[in-house]
């Protein structure tokens, strides 16, 4: 009797890239819900727009590259890129900026290098940074959280939609009146005006450990990250190293300045620290791949982001830190390879 021939191993894995990426997206659901509760529908709108736009740009790139569109889209990686861009962008943003970010992420960040698996830089961060340097004003215009006893009333849904689709707040609203500095920005400006962190932190924009509202989104991200670790979809090296790289210098700094600079808790729950540690730096394609390499990579990102926050020209530095360390990955991989069994110590 003749039988079919196929190479061993015959036991096949139960998971696939698609299932993994889908689960990473789902791990952001708690954070998205908290984000929605504090800041309104903007995040949900952003997620929808970014995912659809990214998928459309990917489909276009695949057609141009003569690749099977449905097969590649089903790896859900572009969906994750869309979700991450949505989390990174300001909650309410003129829609052409959103499209620019998505186009840059998928086309410049991913497909010019050959698509999934070949991109040296984190696509979502490429998209975010292109939008940030191209539209600096729109990209730093954040609405404060709409809950709590801030002296502030959120614009109506209609007014917010008008801003998204026209790029201007309908009269009599003005951007100056509507938007607020983010907690990170307030700290940066305040410290440069010789205020202490304690004084700045008295503003109602601040909650228990970080920005009001933001800290709860941070908790949601932390929960999602813990889930991914528990499920073995990400490994501990990068998140732990990112957090250590940021919190260790922050702790030393706040101790040395007797509390006049922001401490580890503030850094942890502000800006993109948690999202970066658990969801962005852990993108396997653009991260270092050996355990030691990942520790250095993560630490580098955390430390660089803290340095940018402390001395740099931007209130947050996660995106730049990630891109910078993405570029160092081939070198890290080469020099941190584990010792093979039977090779000299």
């Amino acid at each position: 009797m003749k039988l079919a021939r196929a190479a061993t191993p015959f036991l096949k894995p139960a998971t696939g890239v698609g299932a993994m990426m889908r689960e990473v997206c789902l791990a952001l659901v708690p954070a998205a819900i908290l984000y929605f509760l504090f800041f309104g529908f903007g995040i949900l709108f952003n997620i929808a727009v970014c995912v659809l736009a990214c998928a459309a740009f990917e489909a276009l790139a695949l057609m141009l590259r003569r690749q099977p569109v449905a097969v590649v889209l089903s790896d859900y990686s572009v969906c994750l890129t869309g979700v991450l861009i949505a989390f990174a962008l300001p909650t309410y943003l003129p829609i052409y900026v959103t499209f620019t970010a998505c186009a840059a992420a998928v086309l410049l960040g991913k497909h010019v290098y050959g698509g999934i698996g070949y991109n040296p830089f984190n696509p979502a961060m490429v998209g975010y940074v292109v939008a940030l340097v191209s539209f600096p004003i729109a990209m730093s215009a954040w609405l404060p959280p709409g809950l709590g006893d801030l002296d502030y009333t959120m614009p109506t849904i209609g007014e917010r939609l008008a801003y998204i689709f026209t790029g201007n707040w309908p009269a009599p609203l003005t951007a100056e009146a509507i938007t607020r500095a983010t907690p990170l920005d307030m700290v940066r400006t305040g410290l440069r005006a010789s205020e202490t962190f304690g004084e700045i932190g008295n503003s109602p924009m601040f909650g228990t450990f970080g920005g009001y509202g933001w800290e709860w989104v941070g908790n949601g991200i932390l929960a999602g990250g813990a889930w991914l670790l528990y499920r073995g979809i990400i490994r501990w090296h990068i998140p732990v190293a990112v957090l250590f790289g940021m919190l260790a210098p922050a702790t030393l700094d706040t101790l040395a300045s007797s509390g006049t600079t922001p401490g580890p808790a503030f850094h942890l729950f502000s800006g993109a620290t948690l999202l970066g540690a658990f969801f962005i730096a852990t993108d396997p394609v653009s991260a270092a791949t050996s355990p030691r390499g990942r520790l250095i990579f993560g630490f580098g990102i955390g430390f660089t982001a803290w340095a940018i926050r402390t001395w740099g020209g931007y209130p947050d530095g996660i995106a730049f830190a990630v891109l910078l360390w993405n570029a160092a990955v081939p070198l890290l991989d080469r020099y941190t390879a584990p010792r093979i069994m039977g090779h000299e110590r």
């Binding site: 009797m1 039988l3 196929a6 015959f10 894995p13 584990p338 093979i340």
Partner: protein, 507 residues
């Protein structure tokens, strides 16, 4: 004898806890397979040199009679698995990675299974010297029954030259579905320990570990019972955690001793000698009955056969006979694999014979894992899970990239030759990349490249030698000519002088 707790073991990097699927075949009794009408004994059973036939078509042979001699130091004698008449010595397809045809001795059996009578038991092997015992083991054509059919004499010679201190018997059998060693250990634990004692005596060893995987409680019990009788204080039974691939030779040495087999080396380089429990049993059989190695236990299993089990099978028996003994194919039979689902070799035709390294015949449906993802193969996303579970700490993701992107010169640095092809990386790859097959291909590619490089360098050497020779010839020729010229001119001068010389007056 002592039983070591598992906690004393060194920890293997990586590895996987796999579903065993062992009960499918392990529970029944050990049964035999009838002598087939035709036996096809391959002369090329292992990676070493093929054996040289010493019978001719038409010769009558008896069970246990030598039919082919070992050729060189890395080869083993072959013996007739039953009595009959040699029909032919010709090329036949045998199971192997390349599915090549190799020279085989084909015997038409006569059903009498008459044994040759010049084989005698060794009543007291411990009275023999080391050389005599090694020679007896070599004469019996004993080879490693773990999966490579490595000639045992070659291994023993290598070990005695290197000077070793530890014998390790491998009863781990970590690959799913396979239970032939388990069956052997349950039924013949006493013989295995007797074989171990002989091997220790032959090499003058003072320490022996028997590693048995923790998912084989019956075998463990059988060994403990047998060890109580055997009463060998140099022997330690060790329970090995059920983590694939703990039964790999180098892996088992590391687990038990913490010593790493150097890259490209052998366990004997670090003082250890590893034999499969089946090899020790063959040595015991030789001592007890004088019979050479002509059969082995084979597991027949998988959802493609009706009655899985373990069978004592003569080498050269068609695999189809074995399937029949296991109740025949079921409707689900689609793939036939020699060996286990991780490292086995696919076989297209069940008319091929059982060879010495055939520990298992696995017949399966399309896929073994019920919940296997049906996603297609995708590009590597560098998640590093393959590196995390690699038992030799390789980085398959980097090797795969080097091989596919074309930076193949980087493969030696990445440890390609250290890959044991265990298949773990395939199992955790979310991109479903056939990594193990890629590395097999890469190794073959490397071998070919080395061969060609060697050939090129030999050709260059030949060319250079010829050039040197030509040059030498030219220079000597030139010197000779110059010499001649000089001599010629000298001669000419003297001739002229002679001519000018006034002649002696003639008388």
């Amino acid at each position: 004898m002592s039983s070591a707790p598992t906690a004393n073991l060194f920890r293997l990097p990586g590895g996987l806890r796999l579903p065993g699927h062992k009960r499918v075949s392990a529970t029944g009794a050990l049964s035999g397979v009838a002598v087939p009408e035709t036996l096809t004994v391959s002369l090329r059973q292992h990676a070493g040199t093929a054996a040289q036939p010493i019978v001719e078509p038409g010769d009558r042979v008896l069970h246990g009679q030598r039919i082919a001699n070992a050729e060189g130091g890395f080869s083993a004698h072959l013996h007739a698995p039953s009595s009959g008449v040699v029909r032919a010595i010709e090329q036949r397809p045998v199971p192997g990675r390349a599915n090549l045809s190799v020279p085989c001795i084909i015997i038409d059996t006569d059903g009498e299974d008459a044994r040759i009578d010049d084989r005698h038991a060794i009543p007291n092997p411990f009275a023999l010297g080391s050389r005599e015992l090694l020679d007896a083991i070599g004469a019996a054509g004993i080879v490693g029954l773990g999966g490579a059919a490595f000639p045992t004499l070659a291994k023993l010679n290598q070990a005695s030259e290197a000077g070793i201190d530890t014998l390790i018997l491998n009863g781990v059998e970590c690959e799913p579905f396979i239970s032939c060693d388990d069956a052997l250990m349950r039924n013949r634990a006493g013989e295995i320990l007797y074989g171990a004692r002989i091997l220790m005596h032959a090499l003058g060893l003072r320490q022996c570990f028997v590693g048995i995987e923790s998912d084989k409680p019956e075998a463990w019990q059988a060994f403990n019972d047998a060890a109580a009788v055997d009463n060998n204080d140099k022997l330690t039974l060790v329970q090995i955690p059920t983590i694939y691939p703990s039964g790999g030779e180098d892996q088992l040495v590391y687990l038990l001793t913490g010593r790493e087999v150097p890259s490209g080396g052998f366990p004997s380089d670090i003082g250890a000698l590893v034999h499969n429990v089946g090899t020790a049993a063959s040595v015991a059989t030789l001592a007890l009955s004088g019979m050479p190695l002509t059969s082995r236990i084979v597991t027949v299993t998988g959802d493609g056969v009706a009655a899985p089990g373990n069978f004592e099978v003569r080498f050269g028996t068609p695999i189809s006979d074995l399937i029949e003994a296991a109740g025949g194919y079921t409707e689900r039979a689609n793939h036939l694999i020699m060996g286990g689902p991780m490292t086995g070799i696919p076989i297209e035709d069940d008319a091929m014979p059982v060879v010495q390294k055939c520990n298992c015949v696995l017949v399966t449906s399309r896929t073994i894992t019920e919940n296997a993802s049906t996603e297609p193969e995708r590009p590597c996303i560098r998640c590093g899970e393959c590196a995390r579970i690699c038992p030799v700490r390789l980085q398959p993701q980097q090797m795969h990239r080097a091989f596919t992107i074309g930076d193949r010169d980087d493969l030696p640095r990445l440890g390609l030759r250290d890959c044991i092809e265990c298949g773990c990386c395939d199992l955790v790859c979310p991109s479903h990349i056939p990594l193990t097959q890629t590395f097999r291909d890469a190794k073959a590619h490397q071998q070919l490249q080395n061969y060609e490089r060697e050939r090129a360098s030999r050709a260059r050497e030949r060319y250079e030698t010829r050039q040197q020779r030509d040059q030498h010839r030219e220079t000597t020729e030139a010197e000779r000519l110059a010499d001649l010229k000089q001599k010629a001119s000298r001669d000419a001068i003297s001739e002229i002088l002679a001519r000018k010389k006034p002649k002696e007056p003639e008388q």
